[in-house]
């Protein structure tokens, strides 16, 4: 870590005096740059090879997917015969897709709707609750905090059926509401935002109090703007959490029109065979929106200054 930081630091800090120094520095700089690029490339590949295997697997003929695993060559990853059939299938464009009534666009839409609904409501309610725990005074607040965090500790597999019974009793079985309502507040997000908000200096909101602002104004004007990185992060994580829900929609939803994308992908495994091509194509279409969202939100994570104190 610190070696790499020094490398990067030196790159930026090479302000040489004489021309020989300049040449030496440039030479060293280039070497270090090369090392850095190699590190980047290795890391990039280590984390994305599975994704590319899945991506290229979705645009090759299905017979190839498991045929060239060994020895490891370009054929393992890259298609020999390219084919868009899997995508045409899952979106119901090809004959097979139409014959089987496949409509992944519908399931993607459902997932998007549910995820967006949860993220929006959860951002609002969790921010309120996190503010309460981070900043407001209340008797037995710590007990309430344990009450909130303890909800994270129960294995979902044990409570999914009782939860189904509750949601059914509320008339929300087999509906978007049943997919959204149970998640509009999240102990994980409250806990996280609470930690972020506690790191905001208190003199800021005290000043606002002096100006006569009410609690909601302090939250909206002072705390929220300073918690943006945390809020964005939680929105993203919440989005991918809901987006990847599998067991809950599987149990709750009975109308195919309402089903979410992860369940739809799983239905491409029948009792006798797995439609690997469609599974891969479905998985690619399911992961791309979240990756794009991440790319879009990236700038909220980057720093203007290297974290060890050197300009980067």
């Amino acid at each position: 870590m610190s070696i790499l930081d020094n490398v990067a630091g030196n790159l930026a800090a090479s302000t040489p005096g004489s021309s020989t120094e300049l040449r030496r520095a440039t030479w060293r700089g280039r070497l270090q740059m090369a090392v850095l690029i190699v590190v980047y490339v290795v890391m990039f590949l280590a984390f994305t090879i599975p994704f590319f295997w899945m991506f290229f697997g979705s645009i090759r003929e299905e017979a190839e997917i498991f045929a060239n695993l060994y020895p490891f060559t370009w054929k393992t990853i890259l298609p020999i015969k390219w084919s868009l059939k899997n995508y045409l299938d899952i979106f119901g464009i090809s004959d097979d897709g139409q014959k089987f009534g496949l409509q992944f666009q519908r399931f993607l839409g459902n997932s998007f709707l549910v995820s967006a609904g949860v993220v929006l409501s959860s951002l609002f309610f969790n921010t309120l609750a996190a503010y309460f725990f981070a900043r407001l005074r209340f008797p037995l607040k710590n007990v309430l905090l344990v009450f909130v965090i303890a909800t994270m500790l129960v294995p979902f597999q044990a409570t999914i059926v009782p939860l189904y019974i509750v949601v059914d009793a509320l008339g929300m079985a087999n509906s978007y509401n049943g997919l959204i309502f149970p998640w509009y507040a999240s102990p994980f997000v409250i806990f996280a935002l609470m930690q972020f908000m506690r790191d905001i200096p208190t003199d800021l909101d005290e000043a606002a109090v002096m100006d006569g602002a009410n609690l909601f104004h302090i939250l909206w004007r002072v705390i929220v703007p300073l918690s943006i990185p945390g809020i964005i992060t939680m929105a993203l994580l919440e989005f991918q959490f809901i987006w990847n829900l599998f067991y809950w929609p599987l149990i709750l939803i009975s109308s195919p029109q309402l089903q979410m994308i992860q369940v739809a992908i799983a239905t491409q495994t029948t009792q006798t065979q797995t439609f690997w091509g469609r599974t891969f194509a479905g998985s690619v279409t399911a992961s791309l929106p979240v990756i794009v969202l991440f790319l879009f939100l990236q700038r909220y994570y980057v720093q203007g200054i290297a974290l060890t104190g050197l300009k980067g």
Binding site: T76, Y131, F133, T151, L163, Q195, Y301, V302
Partner: protein, 307 residues
């Protein structure tokens, strides 16, 4: 933490509607929606599980006799349940420290802005959103004792082919490594958000004072990141303790029960052994263990650092 807010004086509402109580009421409104959610959607099911744990209960057959604490007694003497707790504990102990360490390194390394880091940052996040079905198949193949990429790489340095997932001693570490790979991006972006929240002035001041990079990291950045680190530690411990999906998708608990994490065992007991009563008792025990662990962690990491 905060001075009592200035508000208009109470006008004849009596003692109960005092200014302080009114403040409490307003404050409570902030947390009320969340509390309602948790009461209805989390605690009702937990209470239902608590009740089920004291009855003979299967999903198909419904409730049978009341058996009190018998099922708790039974699971505590069930060597398979104890084994599953042990497997889960090992998984958590392997995974959490390494994942937090790696994600911290990545967060520090990738927080700077240039084209390379932008690519790598996205790459690290990719496994988080890649379908678990696909990830499981792929890693099964990468770990494969004969076909696997990992063995191909090992053979370059002259190591004979190894079995991973079919070797009882290596299956759990292999599963752990895969899950660190998959989850490291998750904790990385939380830590990045935490880093972003640290005011730049502190570090700049230290640099002006002539502090070395590692000194800035050790004395300024990390202490200020403590709360977020604590959060990541505690939540990752909880999530690791509840590991289910990779076990379900890849190993089904085998070989020789060595990867049978407790939540998979609960699932198996409740849905496949058709005994949700016992499965509920296991869940309650797991809840209690996690409660003790989490509270302990939070005390351990309690951070009084402030500006």
């Amino acid at each position: 933490m905060l001075a009592t807010p200035i508000s208009t004086p109470a006008k004849g509402w009596g003692r109960i509607w005092s200014r302080r109580n009114r403040y409490y009421l307003i404050a409570f409104l902030f947390v009320l929606p969340a509390l309602i959610n948790f009461t209805v959607f989390r605690y009702l099911p937990i209470l239902a599980a608590l009740r089920a744990s004291m009855y003979q209960y299967s999903l198909l057959g419904g409730f049978g006799d009341f058996v009190g604490l018998d099922q708790y007694h039974a699971i505590l003497s069930d060597s398979f349940f104890r084994n599953s707790l042990w497997v889960t504990l090992k998984f958590t102990i392997y995974k959490v420290p390494l994942q937090v360490l790696f994600s911290l390194i990545l967060a520090l390394f990738l927080a700077r802005e240039n084209l390379g880091t932008a690519f790598v940052r996205s790459a690290v996040f990719t496994p988080v959103v890649t379908s678990v079905i696909v990830v499981s198949v792929l890693w099964s193949m990468m770990y494969h004792s004969q076909l696997g990429l990992i063995n191909s790489l090992l053979s370059i340095v002259g190591v004979p082919p190894q079995a991973f997932l079919s070797n009882p001693d290596r299956a759990l570490p292999a599963l752990t490594a895969m899950m660190i790979w998959k989850d490291v991006g998750f904790s990385m972006i939380i830590l990045m958000a935490g880093l972003k929240g640290i005011p730049v002035v502190y570090r700049e001041a230290a640099v002006v004072d002539g502090a070395k990079p590692w000194e800035v990291l050790w004395h300024i950045t990390l202490p200020l990141l403590r709360r977020v680190m604590m959060f990541v530690m505690v939540t990752q411990t909880i999530f690791s303790f509840q590991v289910f999906v990779p076990v379900y998708a890849m190993t089904r608990g085998g070989p020789l029960e060595r990867t049978k994490a407790v939540v998979y065992y609960i699932y198996q007991y409740g849905f496949l052994f058709q005994d949700m009563g016992t499965a509920s008792a296991m869940s309650i025990v797991t809840l209690i263990i996690l409660l003790v662990v989490s509270v302990g962690q939070m005390r351990l990491f309690r951070s009084d650092v402030s500006y």
